[in-house]
Symmetry: C2
Subunit: 333 residues, 2 copies
């Protein structure tokens, strides 16, 4: 019951720690993972931003997914939350719940994925916990970031007439999940692969989030679906939103999917897993978008505007009528 094991022989457990420990090398805050906690000095004049997302095998990823994709996505979805607040990442803590039968090789490749993304996003492992579970592989990551004091991007600052802008393209993640489940096998294989890649390895828009600080009036990352997440902006800002479907940016692959089956429009709008940013900008700052796109390293597209006197999100179709949506989005289960 106590979950503890005599350590006269080196346990399974120490082996896992040995695999994960190099991820903390060169991260002063981690103190070599030899202490009770991580310690770091926040930069002067900054606020700390903290987010924590959990993932479970069979729920948030497939048991057959590549271990390196699982760990990188775990880190990236948390970094995407930091991006949505305009924060720069500082580091992360990781709790892993390992099932007994998971091969060491899997854990090694999981760690390799993290090492890759640590280098890409300039973050490091600061601490965490490793435990055993009788259930499915489960993961919890806490990402820490910093942003100038009182400057964090929020969901509640949008005003009437503000432009609604999204980064990148919408719908690729949700369509990628379908493609991974062989539900889009009629599409060109290149398109299927593109969508699956988007699903597995979203790009946290950190540079864009930081560029939006002091400019965007509200911001969110699109994880639950474009409609649901813009819905969060309207709810917190006490406004409505009017979006034009024709303006929603699609990748070639998503465009092909939608052409093949109009019902997939709803998947694009409500499927989630995009991890692009949706933000609002005063309409007189429209000209800033070129510079913001450059600083953010990602195309930006105006898809609509915030409107008063309405609740929720309305999507105008090409013929001018409102799109009937059977769902408003998804909720994590």
């Amino acid at each position: 019951m106590s979950g503890k094991k005599r350590n006269t022989i080196e346990g399974e457990f120490a082996l896992i720690d040995r695999i994960l420990k190099p991820l903390a090398a060169g991260i002063p805050a981690a103190l070599g993972l030899t202490d009770d906690a991580a310690v770091f000095t926040p930069s002067k004049g900054n606020d700390l931003v903290l987010t924590k997302d959990a993932m479970v095998a069979g729920v948030h990823f497939r048991e057959s997914d590549l271990p390196g994709d699982v760990s990188r996505k775990l880190l990236r979805v948390n970094l995407s939350d930091l991006a949505a607040m305009g924060a720069s990442p500082v580091g992360y803590l990781l709790a892993t719940f390992w099932p007994e039968d998971l091969p060491h090789n899997w854990i090694e490749r999981f760690a390799e994925g993290l090492a890759l993304d640590q280098a890409e996003f300039h973050v490091g492992l600061m601490g965490g916990d490793t435990v055993r579970t009788s259930g499915p592989l489960s993961l919890s990551l806490t990402a820490i970031g910093e942003v100038a004091m009182d400057k964090a991007l929020r969901r509640n600052g949008a005003e009437e007439g503000d432009l609604i802008v999204v980064s990148g393209t919408i719908g690729d993640g949700a369509l990628g999940l379908m493609a991974a489940g062989e539900q889009l096998s009629h599409l060109d294989p290149t398109h299927q692969e593109y969508l699956i890649d988007c699903y597995h390895l979203p790009e946290p828009r950190l540079a864009l989030g930081q560029a939006l600080v002091g400019k965007a009036t509200s911001c969110i990352d699109i994880s639950d679906g474009l409609i649901a997440d813009i819905g969060h902006l309207t709810e917190q800002s006490r406004l409505g939103a009017a979006i034009e479907w024709a303006k929603v940016p699609l990748s070639d692959a998503a465009e092909a999917a939608v052409q093949s089956d109009k019902a997939l429009i709803e998947t694009v709008l409500t499927g989630g897993d995009d991890y692009e940013l949706a933000f609002t900008l005063p309409s007189d700052r429209r000209d800033d978008l070129v510079k913001l796109a450059k600083e953010g390293g990602v195309p930006l597209t105006i898809i609509g505007e915030m409107v008063e006197g309405e609740e929720g999100v309305r999507v105008k179709q090409e013929d001018g009528s409102d799109m009937p949506l059977t769902t408003r989005g998804w909720q994590h289960f």
Copy 2:
């Protein structure tokens, strides 16, 4: 596979969030749990201290444990890590992995336990994630604390001749686990209850940890067992430790247990789950102990000293010989 569920009807999930949300009320950093992340301003001149511990039903607690005890212990073991670094708690993030069949009533009582300890330790829920699992109830908590810059208590600062001091009494947690498993039913029922309470509800020594800042040369909380944890101090400080069994402070209940069965001495020394602090103090600061005990609100006992030229931890028995220990402690599994 995606783990998402249409939210045209309010899910199970929103209900759980409704139960947990009040825990964030009045915590400015939580932003009402309406944003992507928590945001707070660290106090000037402080370092941030971050720790993350995970727990799994059937491994780290019994499925039959009271929900409020489970949540309070989860919070307390993390606060104990902050105490070991000399930090004051600021808040926490919580990831919960709920099995489908867990009654709402259980979750409500889990939240009630957290509410109690939030009030006791002046912390609040700042954010987190709620997911569904097909496995056992699993929990991950990240606690955030602050300590004066560069003043965090570490494991590596002990010097030869330093006194080894522990707070409170040792062994109650491990004996409490045995008592909860009806392995100590020959003891007086009052003693059994006392031990079980110690196991379920350890007391994080936050006031003591803070009082030790700038005074203790090294510090750790006793979670893996007295010998193992003092072993961590010796390892990080590159010294040995000599402890006298006769000086190790025992509660009346632990004393009775040890009198009933000498083999339980090893449980006391290596069983863990004490969550008392073990620290080292220069021998010329011995007189500080009275004041430190008062500030810490807990008795302090010198149990030995740090010695050079030896590895690990030696326990001297009353007859002057070294105690033979079949284990050096426990490791989390």
